[in-house]
């Protein structure tokens, strides 16, 4: 790394000031300032052979098989929250969307839209965190883009990531495959991410110890698919929470669902915050959770395999798929009654991912 560093110094004169410097419009203009930002920040921390080539595109050799592709934009506020930041979130979120197909995620792209005046120190922290998350997940950020907009035209930083992965031969997971009698599983407590983000908002005058569950789930998926290749569908309940995701699968598969409130894992702190703010944890976002639908005879071995993985210790069987032309998701309440768990109407919380 020492050689490029020396070259950078010569090429751009004074290095970027990561202590007190800020992003300026010139950092997105395509000129020398932009080249310096890419060199001293993005290429340095996200380093991989594709970025080093310095081309406008990454040319990839993919293993044989079906390719899964997804894209997601991250506009979370605040940018830093307990358990993560927009950088790691932008890696985890897109990896998870790929992983829900059963695919092994391989490559990511990253597009940054940055507001002029944004501190370079914060940007460096975000890029470092992004690089750390990608490294841990063994995924490379192979191409990127930087745009700078005038002050007041964005909220700090927005990030878009696109990802691709390859699906193992013979595996076919899809949201339209759930069948009456199937079991519904989740890999842990719900609502952690939404509550952690909310607790950082300045208008809330109380402190919460909840940490976001933001995590890359592809390794858990690998273990699950190995234990029960008969899994019909996987989905990560992000925005809109568990309730929204179950409704999506029910509609796609033309079925209903019945879940058991008492079986759904929720941290006491999350319940407490939701209680105070009049929220329902079923609708609060997650960034490290997945829902699995699988035939009943494989449910137990699947839960056992999930519990053996660090990201699935609190896995639970939370309900069943039922025949229902209305596609209602119903919940047996811990109180002993029954109710609909409907689609979320309007937003519960703004900008949590």
């Amino acid at each position: 790394m020492s050689a490029p560093q020396a070259r950078t110094r010569r090429e751009f004169g004074r290095p970027l000031n990561f202590k007190r410097g800020v992003i300026e419009l010139s950092h997105g203009s395509g000129g020398r300032a932009m080249a310096q930002l890419i060199n001293e920040l993005f290429a340095k921390y996200l380093a991989n052979p594709w970025l080093e080539q310095g081309n406008d595109q990454a040319c990839l050799e993919l293993p044989a098989g079906r390719v899964a592709m997804t894209t997601d934009s991250y506009v979370i506020s605040p940018l830093f929250f307990p358990g993560g930041d927009i950088g790691s979130l932008a890696v985890h979120g897109t990896i998870n969307d790929i992983a829900m197909s059963g695919a092994r995620p391989l490559h990511l792209s990253a597009g940054f839209i940055i507001e002029a005046g944004f501190p370079l120190r914060d940007l460096k922290q975000i890029v470092e965190s992004m690089a750390g998350a990608a490294r841990a997940a063994e995924v490379a950020v192979v191409t990127g883009d930087t745009k700078v907009v005038e002050r007041g035209k964005a909220d700090g930083v927005f990030i878009n990531t696109t990802g691709i992965g390859v699906i193992p031969a013979g595996l076919h997971l899809s949201g339209d495959l759930a069948q009456p009698g199937d079991c519904i599983l989740i890999n842990g407590t719900i609502g952690d991410h939404g509550v952690a983000v909310m607790s950082e908002r300045t208008e809330l005058d109380f402190e919460v110890s909840v940490v976001s569950d933001s995590a890359a789930l592809h390794d858990l998926v690998r273990v699950m698919v190995a234990a029960a290749p008969q899994i019909r569908c996987l989905r990560d309940p992000t925005r809109g929470g568990l309730a929204t995701t179950l409704n999506e699968i029910a509609r796609q598969s033309n079925v209903g669902m019945v879940i058991q409130e008492a079986a759904i894992p929720v941290l006491p702190e999350v319940s407490a915050v939701c209680e105070l703010l009049g929220l329902d944890p079923l609708y609060v976002a997650n960034e490290g959770k997945l829902i699995a639908v699988c035939p009943p005879q494989h449910a137990q071995s699947l839960v056992d395999a999930m519990k053996d993985h660090p990201l699935g210790r609190k896995s639970a069987l939370i309900g069943e798929v039922a025949a229902d032309p209305h596609h209602f998701v119903r919940m047996r309440t811990a109180f002993g009654g029954s109710r609909v768990v409907d689609w979320l109407s309007s937003e519960q919380l703004p900008r949590i991912c």
Binding site: H326, F328, T333, F335, G336, S338, R339, D342, S345, S346
Partner: protein
Amino acid sequence: MKYIDEFRDGVTASGVAKQMTLEVKPERKYNLMEFCGGHTHAIYRYGVRDLLPDNVNMIHGPGCPVCVLPIGRLDMALHLADRDGVTLCTYGDMLRVPGSKGRSLLKAKAEGADIRMVYSAADALKLAHQLPEQQVVFFAIGFETTTPPTAVAIQTAQARGLENFTVFCNHVLTPSAIANILESPDVRVLGTVPIDGFLGPAHVSVVIGYQPYEFFAREYHKPVVISGFEPLDVMQSILMLIRQLNSGRAEVENQYIRAVSRHGNIKAKRMVAEVFELRRQFEWRGLGVVPYSALRINDRYSQFDAEARFNLNYAPAKEHNGCECGAILRGVLQPMDCKLFATACTPDTPMGSCMVSSEGACAAHYIYGRYQDAAETA
């Protein structure tokens, strides 16, 4: 969660349910009005109806502050929000209620009006400090529960000499609403709404106490049980009403003893009396014009009255054709009796106020109870 889970315990609930089944007289019906949206919400969210005997019929009352605010008052708030230099602070529930021509505060905000969601009157006051150039108006709605905090905000504003803070006051009174329902022809003459007893408000009664309801029990011979908002509170209160009706009693009983006393919060009541006075009349959605049923800011604090500062005038507005919110708020109709319910009117596209707040009867039924209709028509 301590002091929460205990009141949502399924085992205790099934015990109370068994007791109810033992005690109800099969030959009669028990028509009970839950006054508050908080009760309605608890009944649906926890599935309380599934635990009640078949001959116990719950009727939703008008106790949802968002639901009873007439369109004309919301139009006044919209008019205020449209003015240059005004920042309107509102509780989140009000944001989506459609005013005249379907325009809501949320739409006005999207069009550029400065509208902020706040959790309390104190938040609005804080904002007035932070935005000295703006006229900050707090859109105050609610029953006796939210009135004392509004009074505190007004008194604090006066003590600090804040000149850019006003309150658009829409606070209404529970006892007047109950009297109006009991006096309505539907209940008194026609008998189209059979009401045998009331689940009385929880949080309102923390402030005003249970003494104000004694008149209804005596005068109209209807039992009232002040009930907490947790599902076990509701179950226990229903059992207490069943027992009163079985023994021919019509008394005020207090189930919510952990928070409600006979005279309520005397300090809060004194504060409210210091800042507010009765309006001669006020229009309620559903109930129409009800005499002496709402509060306005009195002369001593008139400098904090948004209606005075901005010369706001009330003009009644027309309800949407076919919207049955009025009849639903009086207990005459159930949500599914409205032909707009779940067709044109849903929580995503609310036509009437009962579909907006999760405490509204229509929204609660749509969000939590709709599968019951499907089962009935199947």
